[in-house]
Amino acid sequence: MRLPVKKTYKLYVGGAFPRSESGRSYDAEGANVARASRKDLRDAVRAAREAFPKWASMTAYNRGQVLYRVAEIMEGRRAQFVELTGDEAEVDAAIDSWVWYAGWADKLAQVLGSSNPVAGPYFNFTVPEPTGVVGVVAPEEPALAGFVARLAPVIVGGNVAVIVASQKRPLAAVTLAEVLATSDVPGGVVNVLTGRKDELCAVLASHMDVNAVDLSGADDEREELERLAADNVKRVVSNGDGQSPWHVAAFLELKTVWHPIGV
């Protein structure tokens, strides 16, 4: 009888898979999963910030292609994900979510932006731009589709993410991180932390170098987290379920430019 090689579940930070600097792990889904510390979160935010300029300045077309590639690689690993989640429909929905959002990358400006007919000889236009580092607390369930539904709209618009996975069911998130690592997603654009939400969420919500937070998966301490977020005027995003370009817009700033028209 052949003994299978057991997998070690680590964090995904800066494009690499480190263990927690604290050396701790916790038991989830029958495995030892890395238990991220506040320092890991600090490192993740730093990695995200470093990765932001390059990701934000890629052409929208390129970003769309990267997200489509994530779908391609995930499709190739479909069986593994079905085994993890036990739910084919959930896996298909997650893959299709990447495809759907990939197609938005080079259309956002056309739907969200505008040229504005001001009452004067000026050319005036509004363009959406990514806000920067976005902290996401993923929902506990569904562990895979919910994770993707929160992550894709963040990064398609050019933002970078630090995402705290489902505490009870983190394995799908770590496996997805492996997909991200092999899909041309630059290191640091997505950082996945597993661990206890009560150790991580407050640190994320109070971090002064995080520009926005999506607290969908943090039902418990919502009010406290939103209060902490106010210290650097983070954008606090509560996107509903489903998929929509407005979910992307929630993480975008709008810049309006004026220029005179004359000879």
Binding site: A60, Q65, V99, W100, G103, Q110, F123, V263
Partner: protein
């Protein structure tokens, strides 16, 4: 010998720096001897029984025999498209429709070298352009529109967009695969099926595209390719089973098509000719403006509807610009389209070459001054050296008529108003170029130029996200961007 003399003896100034031939291999392309029509997902022999060779314009070598569709063949194709539309294509979910288009985009990327070589062989354009421009843009077009397929309600909020049905599409020979992508991608994304007729002289990449359709497992009948000449195009336009006609080509044929669909209720878009003004102001970054002029008229041998074929240069910098332009023309390399260093390839057909020669002769006769850098043109094939006419008056034929070749006509202006006047003084209105440092002037010129595409401090830039189309006799309708979906939809 002095030290300096010794050095110069050891390192004399070379007489030339010749680039060795750097041919792209033809091996990647497999040509059939003969191609049939692609209808209902299968290769079908033409009922017309007609075949004719397609010729490589750089060598006059016949490449393959291609079917010439007759009325009955066109009818069969339209029916197949109609059936596919009723019976499947409009039923599958938009998200699945998107996935077919993504597949096509990826396959084009995977097979891009094969397509690029074939495009250069069949049409004459340099491999550097087909490889670096035509193919990436073609794939990008499919990728862009794939993303719209399941997002139409966001493109047309509150309008409940629906597909039209069968689109009859006729494309030109200057960017065969790219024009095919511009037509098919938005049509399919919005839920239509298509019958596409490639240009007579450049059918091969469209025919190879049928293999992409097969690899993508596109349902049969969604894309039908009927090769042929103007007769097949006319049949397609008038067929009652076609709900929408899209045409890119000459203004004359565009007008015929418009007459043919009059009263039928068919939706129509036309992308026709142009005689664009490329306007250089005295504060323009000159060396880059000269690159823009070169790119504007010599890119793709000038076989471009939006080519900057009229240079309007501010009189105060005229001498300087012309000197730089002539000098730069001397570094253009005319030759074998498959050589990676070729800048200017072959003229697409004998007919087109004759047209160019006729207009150039007219230009000389009318009194314009001609300049062509010394050029060694190959023996076989159809070639024309890059040409510039100075001393051109607004009324000369070379300033009014579209030459569709590597021929630039130069006129001068004194003030922005005069530049706008001269630029707009044409029945065409497809594109224009403006070169100046001053932002407000760019915007003012853009506001006043009557053209569908304005390039400021650049030229001949295309992107699937950017709407393209003309004013006046350059046609109507837009291709590219969110606006490019509209011609293929009906609204409640």
């Amino acid at each position: 010998m002095t030290e300096i003399e010794k050095r110069q003896d050891r390192s004399p100034v070379p007489s030339a720096f010749d680039y060795a031939p750097a041919p792209e291999s033809r091996e990647i392309v497999t040509l059939e001897d003969r191609y049939d029509l692609f209808i209902g997902g299968e290769w079908v022999e033409p009922k017309s029984g007609e075949y004719a060779p397609t010729i490589s314009p750089s060598s006059e070598e016949p490449l393959a025999e291609v079917a010439y569709a007759g009325a009955e063949d066109v009818g069969t194709a339209v029916e197949a498209a109609g059936e596919a539309f009723e019976d499947g294509w409009s039923d599958i979910t938009p998200a699945e429709r998107a996935k077919y288009l993504y597949r096509i985009a990826r396959i084009l990327q995977e097979r891009s070298r094969e397509f690029a070589v074939l495009e250069s062989l069949d049409g004459g354009k340099p491999i550097r352009e087909s490889r670096d421009v035509d193919l990436p843009l073609s794939a990008a077009h499919f990728f862009y529109y794939a993303g719209w397929a399941d997002k139409l309600e966001y493109a047309f909020p509150n309008r409940k967009p629906k597909a039209l049905g069968v689109a009859g599409q006729i494309i030109p020979w200057n960017f065969p695969l790219l024009m095919l992508s511009w037509k098919i991608a938005p049509a399919l994304a919005s839920g239509n099926t298509v019958v596409l007729k490639p240009a007579e002289s450049t059918p091969l990449t469209a025919l190879l595209f049928c293999d992409v359709v097969r690899q993508a497992e596109l349902p049969p009948g969604v894309v039908n390719i009927v090769t042929g000449d103007g007769r097949a195009g006319a049949e397609l336009v008038k067929h009652p089973g076609v709900d929408k006609v899209a045409f890119t080509g000459s203004t004359d044929v565009g007008k015929e098509i418009q007459r043919a669909v009059a009263g039928t209720g068919k939706k129509l878009t036309l992308e026709l000719g142009g005689k664009a003004a490329n306007i250089i102001f005295d504060d323009a970054p000159l060396d880059q403006a000269v690159e823009g002029i070169i790119n504007g008229i010599y890119f793709n041998q000038g076989h471009v509807c939006c080519a900057g074929s009229r240079l309007l240069v501010q009189e105060s910098i005229y001498e300087q610009v012309i000197a730089k332009l002539k000098r730069r023309m001397g570094t253009l390399r005319v030759g074998d389209p498959l050589d990676k260093n070729t800048d200017i390839g072959a003229i697409n057909s004998k007919e087109q070459l004759e047209k160019i020669k006729e207009l150039v002769a007219a230009g000389e006769e009318e009194g314009a001054e001609i300049f062509q850098p010394p050029c060694r043109l190959p023996e076989k094939g159809w070639w024309f050296a890059p040409t510039v006419f100075t001393n051109v008056a607004q009324s000369y034929r070379v300033a009014q008529e579209e030459i569709f070749g590597p021929v630039l006509s130069v006129l001068t202006f004194r003030t922005p108003d005069e530049a706008v006047e001269k630029a707009n003084n044409t029945p065409y209105g497809l594109s224009a170029g403006v070169w100046t440092e001053k932002g407000s002037r760019i915007l003012s010129m853009a506001q006043r130029l009557r053209a569908g595409v304005i390039w400021a401090n650049t030229y001949n830039r295309f992107d699937p996200a950017s709407p393209f189309g003309g004013y006046k006799e350059s046609g109507f309708g837009r291709e590219g961007g969110r606006h490019g979906l509209e011609p293929y939809m009906r609204f409640e």
